[in-house]
Each structure stands twice: as structure tokens, then as C-alpha cells.
């Protein structure tokens, strides 16, 4: 049943409360605009929902989870975070597509559990299209976006060092994490091969920042932080927005579609109230879609009308297209004999996210390698919560037990972050057959790794194996196959920005070409995912779009 009671009209509706939505909500509220934020899940209570300080033996299944439910868990989900990821709302995959797509519907979305790597993209990424001829350039230069990166970094706090590298511009940083024993050893090995090994750009507070306490290095970051010592919107942005008195946050509100008036302008959003199982509508002068890359496409594709028969803001036909993702996987793993028999050391202080090997390929010449563009690597290792290397050690008894202890500080492994290239066969549309539990037509994913990213995967496996050897380590194995697409949670595309309305969904400010009071503030506007993570770029672009929106509303001329 539809609730057609007239509701208060807001200045802006923001759909989604993750990095992009959270930044929009904060920026708009602080500018004095009345904001209604819609979030598809509930609000979490960090003290109750984040079990990051629970020991394995405090958990019923020791952290391994209920075996009967294990098949239902996403890779990122475990006994600590069970119940925090979305399982109720369906998505489908086209034949031939494997897509594992964990969605955190809770307020704050993926920022609750993100990996915290927060590097800037640069012109090497924005101009990659013309540089290697494989795509178009971004409509924004690094010079133009750099001030927004600086402001985003100041808001969230990023620990790193100035590195003067061509592939990853430096920003404004808190003191870096200290390097561990294994880092010094691997760094030496990398040096021999000419591969960089540096502190990551890590959004984790090494000192108190903007009223947030510094990290205490317990190591269970991806279970959610109950002290708020790394950036997430519920800890950092939403309290600031709420302080203004301008925010109304509606939780358990699954947006179905954007509503349009007779002039083709956005006038609100229709959503399902999950608690009341009722369809509701809310109205505003402008709408910001920030539901995450694929969800935003789903909402706009489902916003069909006689005026917009193929979905809202889709006159280019590009809505849902150019879906990119990071190819993730363990490239190689082994151990460092130098550390055999050493005592334990707190290596796992940040889920091991201390260092990275930032892109070093195709820097001088875009065609140096067999592939175009480049990738980055995250090394990890040392004393972990569980001795996963146990299957490398033979036998049983006292000798086995002693060996487990001897090897405890020694394991290392490498994780790749490889960008896919935009491809006409990688996109999302609406499944004509399937509706979710609320009757909303489900989104359908079409995606496969392309040859360029698979060449990088082979390259990365070889390099990482060589790094272990050059570090005087022993190789246990190399990755057999990359993780399933969707795994990285770094989808980009679907609403790409560009100057030509015939080829792009949004303009250079993230404003829909077809609908002047509709804006997109998430990774769907990014042209590709590059070798960096997406969150910092989502924050910077969302900040810029939000300020552009404010300016338009002030001028009373949203189409300027």
C-alpha cells in the first residue's frame, strides 16, 4: 500500500550513507540545507555490533562461524560481523558471470569495515585513456581535484609519508605506521628488484585527530572499530551533520526509484520502509544518489517513466555500463627464515595494512609491459591471530607444536590490486524475471575479467614470487586463480562523468546530464578504478559535487 500522505519537502534527499553519501550529508547539512537521508539498513551500535575486541574463544564457533551457515557468508563476513551484511535483497548474475557482491546495508555502509587504504589518484589515472589509447580521459584534472583530496584527508586523517612517486601524488599526512621486522626484510628484497616498498596511505589515526582518539593497534579493524579510530561515516560525518539539526536520517529505507515531475526534474524518492513493509515517498528540491556503484545504477534504471523509458539519466544509453572492479587475489606466499624461532611481535596491528608496493609499471612509457596501466600490491604477514601456515608443516606431536611456534613470525603473502579496463561486456542491467523480496526488479550483473587484467595477474604472481626470493625467503606457493569479481568491493563506472551528454551519464560535476537536479556522489561516476582504492576519490568527488549542488540551489538555478 502506498503512503500518499503529503510529507515535508526537504532541500535534498541523499540516498546512501557510505563514503559518498556521508560526505554529501555532512557538507549539505553544514551549509544549512534540510537533508533527508535514506539508508537501506539499520543503524549500528558500535558497542554491541562491533565485536572487534572479542577473543576467538569468546565466540561460539571460535570465529569460524556456524558451519551450517558458512556457505551463506560472504568472504568478508565472519562470525564477528555476521548479521551486518545484506542477504535479504536479491541480485542476479548473467550466464557466465561470477559475481560475489557483499553489501553492507547498515548506516555507514562499507566504511564500517573498509581496508582504509586511501591513496590519491593522479593525472596518470585521469589521463590514462589518451596515454594508452584504451579509453577516454576523465573530465577533471588532478590540479582541479587536488584541493578536495587535501580537504578530505584533513577530515578523515590519513597516515603516510611523502613518497615523490609519479603514480601516486602525495597528500597531507599524519605520521606513518612504523615498519615491522618483516617490512625491513621485504624492503631489502624489493630494493634489489627496483620495486617500491613504502608505507601505505592509511586512513587510520596514528595520532588523535579532529576529536577522534588514536588507534590502539588491536588489529581487528575489519570487524568494525568501537573507538572510531579510523574513518567511517557513522563515527566521523553523521554526528557533525546531526549537530546542525538539519538531518533527518530514515533507516531501513530501501529506495525503489527516484520520482520525477512533469517537467522531467527529480522531485523525490520512493522507498520501502522495511519495518512497516510499506511503500513511502519523500520529496525534495534535489536528489543525490549515493547508494554505491551498482545500487545507484539499479535505482536509476528502475526509475522509468514515459519521459525516461530506459531509466532516469540514461539518454546516453550508458547508465549501468563501464562497470570496473579490482581483481584481487593472493599472488604468492611463503616465509622468511630470518625470523624463524623469534618471539611473537604485534605485526597484525592494523589487519596488517601497513605497507604497499605502489604501481611501478608503465610509468615512463604506457606500453613498457604487455599490459596497459598498472597495479599495486599489499604485502602482509607476521604473527597473525591464527597459524594459517599449519598446512605447510608436516607431522604431529611435540615437534609439530614447536614448529608452529618457530614459524609464527615468518609467513608473508602478497595481495594484488589490479584494475579492470572498461569493457562493453561488463555492465549491469535490470533482470526482467527476478524481483527482490519487496517486489523491486533485481539488478543483474554481467562481468568477466578481461585479458589486460589477467596479464597483470600473471605479472604480479611472478614479481611477488621474486620478491620473496630476493628477500632470502622461501616460496610456499603462488596464487592459482584470482578472487571472484565483486570481491574487492571497489566497483566503479555505471554513471561515468564526462562532458558529452551522448556518451556520459553525469557531467564533470557529477550532475546528471538529463536531469539537472539529480546528482551522483559515489564510485559510479569514476571512469575506472585505477591501482588505488576508491574511497578517498569518492570522498573528494562527493565533496566537490556537494558544493556545486549547494551553489546551484543558492542561485536558484540548478541547471547552471
Amino acid at each position: 500500500m502506498k503512503n500518499l500522505m503529503p510529507d515535508q519537502t526537504y532541500d535534498v534527499i541523499v540516498i546512501g550513507t557510505g563514503a559518498g553519501g556521508g560526505m554529501a550529508i555532512k557538507t549539505l547539512c553544514e551549509a544549512g540545507l534540510k537533508v533527508c537521508a535514506l539508508n537501506s539498513g539499520r543503524r549500528l551500535d558500535p558497542a554491541k555490533d562491533f565485536r572487534n575486541h572479542k577473543q576467538s574463544y569468546d565466540m561460539k564457533y571460535r570465529g569460524f562461524g556456524d558451519p551450517r551457515k558458512r556457505d551463506q557468508y560472504y568472504h568478508i563476513e565472519n562470525e564477528y560481523t555476521a548479521g551486518l551484511w545484506e542477504h535479504g535483497i536479491a541480485y542476479t548474475t548473467a550466464p557466465g558471470t561470477e559475481w560475489e557482491w557483499p553489501r553492507c546495508a547498515a548506516v555507514g555502509g562499507k566504511t564500517n569495515f573498509w581496508g582504509r587504504s586511501a591513496a590519491r589518484m593522479g593525472d596518470i589515472d585521469f589521463k590514462a585513456g589518451s596515454r594508452d589509447g584504451s579509453d577516454v580521459d576523465w573530465p577533471v584534472s588532478y590540479e582541479e581535484i587536488a584541493p578536495y583530496y587535501s580537504r578530505a584527508e584533513r577530515m578523515i586523517g590519513v597516515a603516510s609519508t611523502v613518497q615523490n612517486r609519479p603514480s601516486n601524488p602525495d597528500g597531507e599526512y599524519l605520521p606513518p605506521m612504523n615498519l615491522r621486522c618483516l617490512d625491513f626484510i621485504l624492503q631489502k628484497g624489493c630494493e634489489k628488484l627496483g620495486v617500491p616498498y613504502l608505507p601505505d596511505r592509511l586512513a587510520q589515526l596514528t595520532v588523535a585527530h579532529e576529536g577522534h582518539p588514536p588507534c590502539h593497534y588491536c588489529g581487528n579493524c575489519t570487524e568494525g572499530c568501537d573507538t572510531g579510530s579510523f574513518f567511517s561515516t557513522p563515527w566521523f560525518f553523521l554526528p557533525l551533520a546531526e549537530k546542525t539539526g538539519n538531518l533527518e536520517l530514515r533507516t531501513n529505507a530501501v529506495v525503489k526509484n527516484v520520482l520525477v515531475d512533469e517537467n522531467g526534474r527529480a522531485k523525490g524518492a520512493a522507498y520501502i520502509d522495511r519495518d512497516r513493509k510499506q511503500e513511502m515517498e519523500v520529496y525534495a528540491k534535489a536528489v543525490v544518489v549515493a547508494a554505491s556503484c551498482v545500487e545507484s545504477a539499479r535505482i536509476l534504471l528502475n526509475s522509468k517513466s514515459s519521459r525516461f523509458p530506459t531509466g532516469l539519466a540514461n539518454s546516453s544509453g550508458q547508465l549501468g555500463h563501464n562497470l570496473c572492479d579490482h581483481l584481487y587475489g593472493t599472488t604468492s606466499y611463503g616465509y622468511l627464515p630470518q625470523l624463524l624461532g623469534q618471539g611473537s611481535f604485534p605485526d597484525n596491528v592494523s589487519n596488517s595494512q601497513v605497507v604497499w608496493m605502489p604501481r611501478w609499471q608503465n610509468l615512463n612509457n604506457p606500453h613498457e609491459e604487455k599490459f596497459v596501466r598498472g597495479y599495486s600490491i599489499y604485502p602482509t604477514g607476521g604473527c597473525d591471530e591464527f597459524p594459517w601456515y599449519q598446512d605447510q608443516i608436516e607431522g604431529f606431536g611435540s615437534e609439530f607444536k614447536r614448529n608452529i611456534k618457530r614459524y609464527y613470525p615468518t609467513p608473508v603473502s602478497f595481495y594484488c590490486q589490479i584494475p579492470s579496463l572498461p569493457s562493453p561486456t561488463n555492465y549491469v542491467d535490470i533482470d526482467p524475471e527476478v524481483r527482490d523480496i519487496y517486489g523491486i526488479p533485481a539488478v543483474r550483473v554481467h562481468f568477466q575479467w578481461g585479458p589486460n587484467e589477467l596479464l597483470m595477474w600473471e605479472h604480479a604472481k611472478e614479481v611477488c614470487r621474486d620478491v620473496i626470493k630476493a628477500s632470502e625467503g622461501e616460496v610456499w606457493g603462488v596464487g592459482e586463480k584470482p578472487n571472484t569479481p565483486g570481491y574487492s568491493l571497489h566497483e566503479t563506472g555505471t554513471c561515468r562523468m564526462g562532458n558529452d551528454p551522448k556518451r556520459f551519464v553525469t557531467n564533470r560535476f557529477g550532475q546528471a546530464h538529463d536531469v539537472p537536479n539529480l546528482y551522483v556522489c559515489d564510485a559510479s561516476v569514476l571512469l575506472s578504478c585505477s591501482d588505488k582504492t576508491t574511497t578517498l576519490s569518492v570522498l573528494a568527488f562527493s565533496l566537490r559535487t556537494s558544493e556545486y549542488l549547494i551553489e546551484n540551489l543558492r542561485r536558484g538555478n540548478p541547471s547552471s
Binding site: G63, P67, K188, N348, S398
Partner: protein, 207 residues
Amino acid sequence: MAGQGLERREVLRVMALAAAASQFPGFSRWTFACDHIGAQSTEGAPAKPAAYLPQFFTPEEYATVERLSELIIPSEGSAGAREAGVSEFVDFMVFSDPGVQYRFRYGLTWLDAHAQQLYGETFRALTPDRQTEILQHLAYKDRYREGEDEGREFFKLVREYVVMGFYTSRVGLEELDYPGLKFYSESPGCPHGDDPEHLHLPKVVKD
């Protein structure tokens, strides 16, 4: 020769008898003693834990699992599987996982049939030396014997569960001196500034 002639058919027949004799209570009655050794009770002194009643295994099977866990992680030198209550964990996890129950039941039956064939007694009735001897042929590549594939597979499985149970217990994490889930005032860095390549470190754990 050892292990040869142990027919799968025979193992299955014995296993069916064991399953019939099992006290398996069904999925509604289980309670797992989370307050195993070392865990703290919030209300005063913890009651002395009663003898553990296996949820999945028969008493005989459970005795074998207990013995296996002690052989895999012994209490020599420091606390082992016994102190960590590992066999309880194994029983609980197997109880909770219908997908693995058959493999455990089959493997335990194989092990007894194998012991019977070699020494005329069940595995748990053998001397520790003979038990160790049997496991060595399943655990070490250079001592593998023909016809024992199923035993090796079972040993791998049971070792995995014992390792899981031990190193997620309080005593197991103490054994490793697990350094996580603590509070540090600054990010802990390498203390070996004078030896960045770590080539001359004195060993803490002997080879």
C-alpha cells in the same frame, strides 16, 4: 602388508553399527560448554565442569578423538590439546556441521579397523608407541604406505580440527604468545635497528 586388504565395504559395515549405537541426540538438545578450562565466569567462582558429554561422537569415538588430539598437540613442555579442551571443540564443530560428520565417522572406523588388522585391538586400546607408529605412517610423506590413503585423508582432517581448536583456545593463543587484541600506545615497530636484514638474531624458540 599393513593397511592392504582393508576393504571399504568392511569399514562401512562397522561404521553403520557404530552409528546405530551412537548417542547422537539430534539437533535440539545440544549445549556447548563455552566455559571450558580457563574461561572466566562472570558470577563468582565457576562451578566445577561436569564430565563432557559428547554431542555427536559415541563415547568410544570420543575417547579416540581425545587420544588423537593429545597425540597431535601433546602437553609436553607447555599446555596442549588436553588443557585446551580440544576434543570438546571437535565434537561440537562436527556436531554443528552435517557436511563433515560422515568423513569423521568413516575415518574413525577406518582407524579402528586398521589397528585391529595390525595389532588385533582398537586404536584407543593400543600402547602410545603403537598409536604413534600408526600415525607416523599417515602424517609423514617419507613414511607413507600403500593402501592407507583413506587413513591419511582422515588424519589430515582430524589434525585440521585439532589445530583449529587448540590455537583458538586461550591456552593455544598463550602458547603462541598472540600479540593482537591488545592496547598499544604507538604502532609497534621493528626493534632491530642495528640488524635491519635480521641475519643475526638470537633464537628465542629453539630449532
